[in-house]
């Protein structure tokens, strides 16, 4: 309870304060992920989910390894869509969940990745491209990103909206 906002209900005890604070500060998607994380680590489900997930993660890492036997870098979109408005998709948990679907695999496989601004969509919103490299090969990722940046000619700047 050292950082961020603290909520103390009237006449509440210490536990009430903990619970109110934990509930107040996070949005729905964050809470959902905390709940899922708590669930898969709970005593009865550890083997069914966490252990299984570790095996799947090993398979994902192996898949990348096979790809890097043939290529030096992988190029993907950073996100499935351009940025959407605040609260616009709050009723669609799957769309919310898929938002980082391109960014997660590199993290799961323990690989260096970078997102570089690449252009604008029809509405003028920025789009990013992601470069993923071999484990511990940050240098190649940075070299490629620099080359990309120098040639993409991305000059758009957001208008001041505030």
């Amino acid at each position: 309870m050292r950082y961020g906002r603290r909520v103390a209900p009237q006449n509440g005890n210490l536990t009430d304060m903990y619970e109110a604070t934990r509930a107040a500060g996070f949005g729905a998607e964050v809470k959902r992920r905390i709940m899922i994380g708590t669930y898969v680590l709970s005593a009865g489900f550890y083997d069914a989910y966490f252990n299984q997930a570790q095996k799947v993660r090993a398979l994902i890492a192996r898949d990348f390894e096979r790809a890097f036997a043939e290529v030096d870098l992988l190029l993907t979109p950073t996100a499935p869509s351009a940025a959407f408005g605040l609260g616009e998709k709050s009723d669609d948990p799957i769309a919310m969940y898929l938002n980082d679907v391109f960014a997660v695999p590199a993290s799961l496989a323990g690989l260096p990745a970078i997102s570089v601004p690449a252009g604008l969509n029809a509405e003028g919103l920025p789009l990013g491209l992601q470069l993923i490299g071999r484990a511990l090969d940050e240098q190649s990722v940075l070299n490629a990103a620099l080359a990309f940046e120098e040639r993409a000619g991305f000059t758009a700047r957001p208008e001041a909206w505030w």
Binding site: R2, Y18, T38, L41, S42, A43, Y46, F50
Partner: protein, 490 residues
């Protein structure tokens, strides 16, 4: 086999006990940080950024703590796991800044071992082997202080992150006496190894006590766990109370619920703290900040080579090589400080006098320390001085009585025994001329008794010895007195 039974209304009940002992590892720094572990410092003066769980801080394992856990495992004849790993045990409490304790659930550093105990230390037939399930390393939490402010509690993080070994026994004990013997033996071994100071008053060692009851030979019953009991006496009392309570509940038609209980030393009873339904789910998972611990063969060889002679081996050697009585051997090896003191005496007087030295330490020295309320660490007499005193007895300079007098003076003045003997003329005399002269006086003064003795009253011999010794102020050699008296009395 223990014959300890609870006598219930429906017959006899057997008690099944397992202990989880938390032993603070002797190390200068904490398990994952460089902060000091010294006891008794001002609150929050021994807290690194890691111990306070500041964002971005990373734990670094302390090799000394790993070494101590491995040495302890070896002393308990346990399997050492060359590959182990740290897990996070998650719970939210004010004394735990990280929000999780780093511990070892899935892959502990030490596996199965065992300890031999004597439930009754005067009875070799009460020997029993108690299984060790595992030992793992984990962090201690901070300490909450509730008595510093009327409406706030304070947190002292000095203890946060200090290394603990959790030593888990199998449910192999069957009586409070066996549990007491197990704790004492475990404490002795830890102190010999030097991996824990065993100081229960300062909280360096505390136990969670698991108790269940069953009809002899039946399946295990449901157990309760009484947390954080911090003396051998309390552990034994908590077991006795808890076993009787469970028998009462079962015989009253109730069921034992699996729960965590608390020992209240003032009321000498256990109380429910939380039931299984309220039990925390700790959501263990491997700590991603720490690599697995992999032990090399060289490291393991060094650990084994650094182990001292352990209490059981020492006790057997004292009996078979030094020829001590089983009782003396057991008393002198029970604690490492006593054993070291005794061995320092032997260094001074020589092993050929081990029997005499063992008797002197266990009776004269222990008696005096007991009387003075001192421990052997701050004995007023040094092992070298004790050795000199024993040598003076062995070579006939001092009789038993004189040695006691000299020892009393040593306790008061701290002087060396040789100096005391010289200064005060306490040397025993074997001068037959002087003794003969005194005997003649004694016999002359007690002619009636001499006649009685010669008439067959053999028991009067002791009287003549006493009179002679008294006249010589206790300095006569008793063997010489006996011999000369026999001759004089015909």
């Amino acid at each position: 086999m223990s014959s300890y039974r609870i006598h219930g209304a429906t017959g006899e009940w057997e008690v099944v006990i397992g202990l989880e002992v938390h032993a603070q590892v002797t190390s200068a720094a904490k398990l994952f940080s460089g902060a000091s572990t010294e006891f008794g410092a001002e609150p929050n003066t021994q807290v690194s950024l890691v111990d306070a769980a500041m964002p971005g801080m990373l734990p670094v394992p302390n090799a000394e703590c790993i070494r101590q856990a491995v040495r302890t495992g070896m002393a308990l004849e346990a399997r050492i796991n060359p590959w182990s790993r740290f897990d996070r045990k998650n719970y939210f409490y004010a004394d735990l800044p990280q929000g999780y304790q780093i511990s070892q659930l899935y892959h502990p550093i030490v596996g199965e071992g065992e300890i031999e105990i004597l439930a009754d230390d005067k009875d070799e037939s009460s020997a029993k082997r108690i299984g060790i399930e595992r030992i793992h390393l984990e962090q201690d939490a901070g300490k909450l202080m509730h008595d510093q402010h009327p409406s706030f509690s304070y947190v002292d993080l000095n203890r946060s992150g200090v290394a603990l070994m959790e030593i888990v026994s199998k449910p192999d004990m069957r009586s409070p006496e066996e549990a007491g013997a197990y704790i004492r033996k475990l404490r002795a071994i830890l102190r010999y190894v030097g991996s824990c100071d065993g100081n229960m008053e300062q909280g360096s060692m505390r136990a969670d006590v698991n108790v269940s009851v069953r009809k002899p030979g039946a399946e295990f019953g449901t157990r309760t766990e009484t947390k954080n009991v911090n003396s051998v006496r309390f552990i034994m009392a908590a077991i006795e109370y808890e076993a009787n309570r469970q028998v009462d509940v079962l015989e009253g038609g109730g069921n034992i619920v699996q729960e965590t209980r608390l020992w209240d030393p003032d009321k000498a009873e256990t109380r429910s703290l939380r039931s299984k339904e309220e039990a925390h789910d700790y959501r263990y998972f491997p700590d991603p900040d720490l690599l697995p611990v992999e032990l090399t063969d060289d490291f393991l060889t060094d650990c084994r080579a650094s182990l001292p002679e352990l209490p059981d081996a020492k006790r057997r050697r004292y009996e078979s090589v030094l020829g001590l009585t089983p009782y003396n051997a057991s008393v002198l090896t029970a604690d490492v400080t006593t054993a070291r003191w005794f061995e320092a005496v032997l260094d001074s007087v020589g092993e050929e006098h081990a029997g005499r030295a063992s008797n002197w330490v266990t009776s004269e020295l222990f008696g005096a320390l007991n009387r003075l309320g001192r421990s052997i660490e701050d004995s007023p007499v040094s092992p070298a001085q004790a050795g000199e005193l024993i040598r003076l007895t062995a070579d006939g300079t001092l009789s038993g009585t004189l040695a006691k007098q000299v020892f009393e003076i040593m306790l008061e003045t701290g002087q060396d025994p040789g100096a005391i003997v010289e200064e005060r003329g306490l040397k025993q005399t074997s001068d037959t001329g002087a003794i003969d002269k005194v005997i003649a006086d004694v016999l002359a003064a007690n002619q009636d008794k001499v006649a009685d003795y010669r008439g067959g009253k053999d028991k009067l011999f002791g009287f003549f010895v006493g009179q002679t010794m008294k006249a010589m102020q206790g300095k006569a050699n008793p063997a010489v007195v006996n011999e000369l008296l026999k001759k004089a009395l015909g």
